[in-house]
Symmetry: C2
Subunit: 390 residues, 2 copies
């Protein structure tokens, strides 16, 4: 291939964040028509690549996730976002598999995004950053896999926007995907989800500190708008039942309502906390770009309007997972993917897991999710000729 | 009673808004403990009160509604919010019934709210306005009914926050309520709904034009924050199915996405329009106060934690109505009210109407809703000895 890739090197970013950086020097043609580059991909790995290079799992993160799936987050110090799933003896067993997790293109944890410097101007990209798509993110990941000399991934797995990337991988590079596990995802973003994203974007853009996107150059930060965007989104990640179970109408550190606008209720206090902590670790413009990428995702549209066509001739093994209480990516969306895969005569399992944890269930302790994945991955590993972990 | 009420007078407000104004001179004891007054109640009537004063229906409006149920809105010029329901020969037949609809306490269409002048300071009340409750709104309405010399309402009816007022009426003044119709409501605001309200309030308060609530005194207006609050709320009034049916992923006046942050999708354009038109007719501080009143609503808590106790000994006839696709006030909330009414041995009908119109169904053309209400009201009218309309 014609793309030059720099030598793999372990380095610390300006912010001393741990992990790998890969610089892609030759331009990448994006869906918007722009040839983009050079750019950096920041990624983490867990476990060891076997001699056959056949045990690699690509973990795709969600909207506000990053490459630190199983390391402490370098800004917040909190555990990795998928420590429930990744580790020795865990479902994604780091003693058996080689895991790769890369910050998406447009992200804000080391991979090039709107907060990085645009070499042409010497200023942060801000809104001069090109609008990227889920397919562009996957194209960038493919360059990383080429660099790692992994021709065939044992598995591509992810939840939410991660599931979109999994489906895009299976459609764009079927020969490189032995198994695909999209969790709590969809083949296209729904009108309601676009609407919620638009509310978040408007909240950010309404903040005068956003300054038309140029806040970094001006040493400002639209923290209030970004916090409101996060609060609105966070509600959609939960379920009414979970909110009722966790908070109900319980009051926060008081015996009676105060007849005011303080956070009387625990759920208000919780939501404010979600908003205020989020702004420490996430870039507002990245939020705009990544939500836009999700809005634009429509796998059928990329294949002449036919979702089965996206999977034509696929030999990958699919395990589609949804959650009963997920109203952001409801089971009906997963079922459409299953129908399309069946129409394409694909090898597909479909599991709807009963839980009241809502969309966020993929990040939580869900025994049925773990059991399902363990069984599916063990079956795939057997077919792939990988040693059983235990 | 000890409260002085001014003579009824038809007048035009400063803004030349049509309708009645009643000034309550003696203070009203609010739930927060403040004796509030004097204050104004702005209201509309439709139809004619009969000689027995037995055909009056009180229509209670929702969060962003007002007294113009069946008149053109004086600011927007749009039809009244319940013209589907109110009029000659309609379900709420103005040839048969005498309808009263009053702007709620804390509102912004003539009834005293945070945008009116605080006589003590000569400035708009802003955040010095007391935090009011649904019960306070109902207490104010009771004063209006006393003024109109209507001891017993034929019916109290309303949707959403209107339904909360209906339930409060039935609990606080059972002898004054012959029939009660809470539509798409609940006996308490859920954690998820408090959360959505909190997002809206934070969006308003994050707008620097809000100025700690003092925007009117400073000749400013938090239009962007209020628009974001409206956008977030508006999504919750619809259903995923309705959004999909109406908009899907259709593009707005373009053939392809623009790879930018314009309103590419129809649903974005629609939502922006909802936000930008709302700010012309609604006061941001009113939005804070009225959402807070809904958050605080918990009818069981007002009765020692027992919802049946709220309705003990009631002789009112209840018709509880919910909509299958309403996820803001789901059927389960109405069912709790029905259970409590049954426990209190009340006369209760319960109808869940199949529709994909979501929470807003009560404002729309819903033939089954109309049929249900017509049947229920005709039955009640017969028991009340009112003449059949046709």
């Amino acid at each position: 291939m014609s793309i030059l890739i720099s030598a793999r090197s372990r380095l610390l970013s300006d912010q001393d964040w741990p992990g790998y950086r890969l610089v892609i020097r030759a331009p990448l043609r994006l869906d918007c028509g722009i040839d983009f580059g050079p750019f950096t991909i920041a990624y983490q790995t867990y476990g060891t690549l076997n001699e056959d290079r056949s045990n690699a799992i690509l973990v795709c993160h969600a909207l506000t996730g990053d490459q630190y799936a199983a390391d402490p987050h370098p800004i917040t110090g909190k555990p990795g976002w998928w420590e429930t799933m990744v580790g020795p003896g865990q479902v994604l067993d780091t003693e058996r598999y080689f895991l790769i997790c890369a910050n998406v293109l447009g992200g804000c944890m080391g991979t090039t995004g709107p907060q990085e410097i645009n070499p042409a101007s010497g200023e942060p990209w801000a809104l001069s950053f090109p609008v990227i798509t889920i397919r562009d993110m996957v194209r960038a990941q493919k360059l990383l896999l080429d660099h790692l000399e992994i021709d065939s991934l044992f598995c591509v797995i992810g939840g939410s926007m991660g599931a979109m990337q999994v489906l895009e991988w299976a459609a764009s590079y079927p020969e490189a995907v032995f198994a695909a596990v999209p969790i709590a995802g969809a083949a296209r973003h729904s009108a309601q989800n676009i609407a919620f994203h638009e509310v978040g974007r408007q909240a950010i853009m309404a903040d005068p500190e956003w300054c038309g996107g140029r806040y970094l150059s001006l040493d400002r930060k639209p923290v209030r708008g970004l916090a409101v965007a996060r609060m609105a989104a966070h509600i959609t990640y939960l379920s009414e039942a979970a909110l009722h179970r966790k908070f109900g109408r319980n009051l926060q550190d008081r015996l009676a309502v105060t007849y005011g606008f303080d956070a009387d209720f625990q759920v208000e206090s919780y939501l404010r906390h979600q908003g205020s902590t989020f702004v420490d670790r996430f870039d507002a413009n990245s939020y705009l770009y990544i939500t836009r990428a999700m809005d634009y995702f429509d796998l059928a549209a990329e294949h002449g309007g036919s979702l089965p066509a996206a999977f034509e001739g696929t030999r990958s093994r699919f395990c589609i997972i949804s959650f009963t209480s997920d109203w952001l990516f409801p089971t009906s969306e997963s079922r459409e993917v299953v129908h399309a895969l069946n129409a394409a005569a694909a090898n597909v399992s479909f599991v709807e897991i009963a839980t009241d944890n809502g969309h966020d269930a993929f990040l939580l302790q869900e025994p049925e999710l773990f059991e399902t994945l363990r069984g599916f991955l063990n079956g795939c590993a057997e077919h792939r000729g990988l040693a059983r972990s235990r």
